[in-house]
Symmetry: C2
Subunit: 335 residues, 2 copies
């Protein structure tokens, strides 16, 4: 089958190529075979391509964690209401940059006919991650306040909306430009009581902006950036506040004051989604199915697509993501 491979196993963007001679995936127990029609890019794909992302044990070495396509084969005895021929989308631990994919039934969704394969493929990783970091790890509760770093990222866009579904009081979001501030403001949901306050980190100090608007601080911080923000994050958390570390794009050696962590009863929680057991991912899938998917279909939740590429343009697709200039999802189709 055709799949995206990496010359010498890892390397820069130009190491990516279309490989015609990749073996078809073998189905493990509980997996079905998918003919992939579209897959989405995620930031960790860049890290994995460069050999900097520790792929969970037993995972395909092929890039890609979310896909949309058609069910080709369901082994006898597999527990699933799916049928061969169904249009589906979902999340896998790896292998989505390929024509054929082994996908676990726990994290497969029937594709609503209102959604194209391009849109469907770009939903799982973003919304699973937002759900995981905000609701599961962050334990965000109705009426609490949120700070999301990198608020104009795809996960930021999802989490800012999700926090509104849970009646956030304030959502603060750091972004890198005034145009991204405007984009974040547009995430205000109809009839939501939430006050969304974007912060341009190039011209404003987030601690000051938060103290001015919400002197008591915030309950939950979700941070895909890491090092540079950590000490300030701890300083701005309320009693019982939670700092969720979901990425570390900057220096990862950080300092903090243990006494403040104790007296404010803070929680610092590191997380990754991809390494989680399937049962955990299945629980997240249930939340996404019930709470989120219907609202994406109805248009009540915004889920922007930045650009769609063809498989042959995979290098251009990775280059666009590396540019750090996009806000919507980058998708690749396999006709």
């Amino acid at each position: 089958m055709r799949a995206v491979s990496i010359k010498n196993g890892k390397g820069p963007v130009d190491a990516l190529y279309i490989d015609d001679s990749v073996s078809e995936p073998e189905l493990k127990n509980g997996e079905v075979l998918i003919r992939v029609k579209a897959f989405a890019l995620n930031r960790m794909d860049l890290m994995q391509r460069e050999g900097k992302y520790p792929v969970p044990a037993g995972t395909s070495s092929i890039l890609g964690v979310d896909y949309s396509g058609t069910v080709l084969k369901i082994p006898p005895g597999t527990k699933t209401p799916l049928q061969e021929g169904d249009d589906v989308f979902g999340l896998v631990k790896g292998g989505a940059y390929a024509e054929l994919l082994a996908a676990p039934v726990e994290t497969i969704f029937l594709k609503p006919k209102e959604l194209s394969h391009e849109v469907a493929a770009s939903i799982p990783e973003v919304w699973f991650t937002a759900t995981q970091v905000l609701l599961e790890v962050g334990e965000f509760k109705n009426g609490e306040s949120l700070l999301f770093h990198a608020g104009a990222s795809a996960v930021g866009i999802a989490a800012i909306q999700l926090a509104q579904l849970h009646n956030a009081k304030y959502v603060f979001a750091t972004v890198g430009s005034d145009s991204k501030k405007e984009a974040v403001k547009k995430l205000q949901l109809k009839n939501s009581p939430t006050k969304i306050i974007p912060i341009n980190y190039n011209s404003e100090e987030f601690v000051d902006v938060i103290k001015e608007n919400s002197p008591e601080g915030v309950d939950v911080i979700i941070d895909p950036v890491g090092g540079i923000y950590f000490t300030r994050n701890v300083s701005i958390l309320k009693l019982d506040g939670r700092d969720v570390v979901m990425g570390s794009m900057t220096d990862t050696n950080v300092k903090f004051d243990l006494l403040a962590v104790m007296l404010k009863r803070l929680q610092i929680k590191g997380t990754t989604l991809r390494s989680r057991p399937l049962a955990y991912q299945g629980k997240i899938a249930d939340i996404v199915k019930a709470e989120i998917l219907p609202k994406i279909v109805s248009g009540d939740l915004l889920h922007p697509i930045e650009k769609v590429f063809k498989l042959e343009e995979i290098v251009e697709a990775h280059k666009l993501m590396e540019s750090n200039k996009t806000t919507g999802k980058i998708v690749v189709t396999i006709p």
Copy 2:
């Protein structure tokens, strides 16, 4: 009434004195009046005496959080099965170093007749704290492994036994002497599958001892010491491990690697019991009542008393605690 006061509000041990002219406490809603027969000392009393412990808002400025005594007065309308004259013991947010005490009904226990007031008074803070840090904050589960720093402390003695009730695989405990190692080994419960491994921090490196016995590390670390251990704690935690910061007796400015916290999905959780809402403390009380108290009465759980003083000897009692040489509880009686 008589109570222990502090000359000039805070100071060294000699600032403590018996004050004959302290006003009787006023009962707030949900509180009953107790005639205190005994109270126990806790390490935070020393910090509070020195003005270094932030007492929760609305709390009595009198020292002391656990007591045993007799119910003197229950205001009409108070929801409690207790009756005036009952012998009781329990936890308060402050005020126990006094003849009369206002105590909330949520955290009062009927005193089993098998327990003296001296023993009963010394139970709540220790066992509430052990329950809180191990089960609630630490989320310790059957079959997991624990590292407890300061394992020969009163809370350590309680937590090491509690972990065995939850079928701990390994319990590692740092202590300051070989005689304390022996004391910790004696905490092995009958028929417990747990392997208890005390570590003398003056002659052994805890990271090495743990790696040798349990190469994968530990699931939960409970640390009343803080700064000096923090980086090593993070290094020895398993995937999904939890580091519970319940004290900081050393330098509190610590460094750590955010990337390790993310990839191992670690949780660093600060906590104090005294600042918690009454509903939370009531929940802990229910666990102590059901799981622990019957086993202290039956002698299946060890709860050592170091020494009992009279009220007039309060200075000597504090001096003994300051010596850092005790393992059992220090109790003061008010005849």
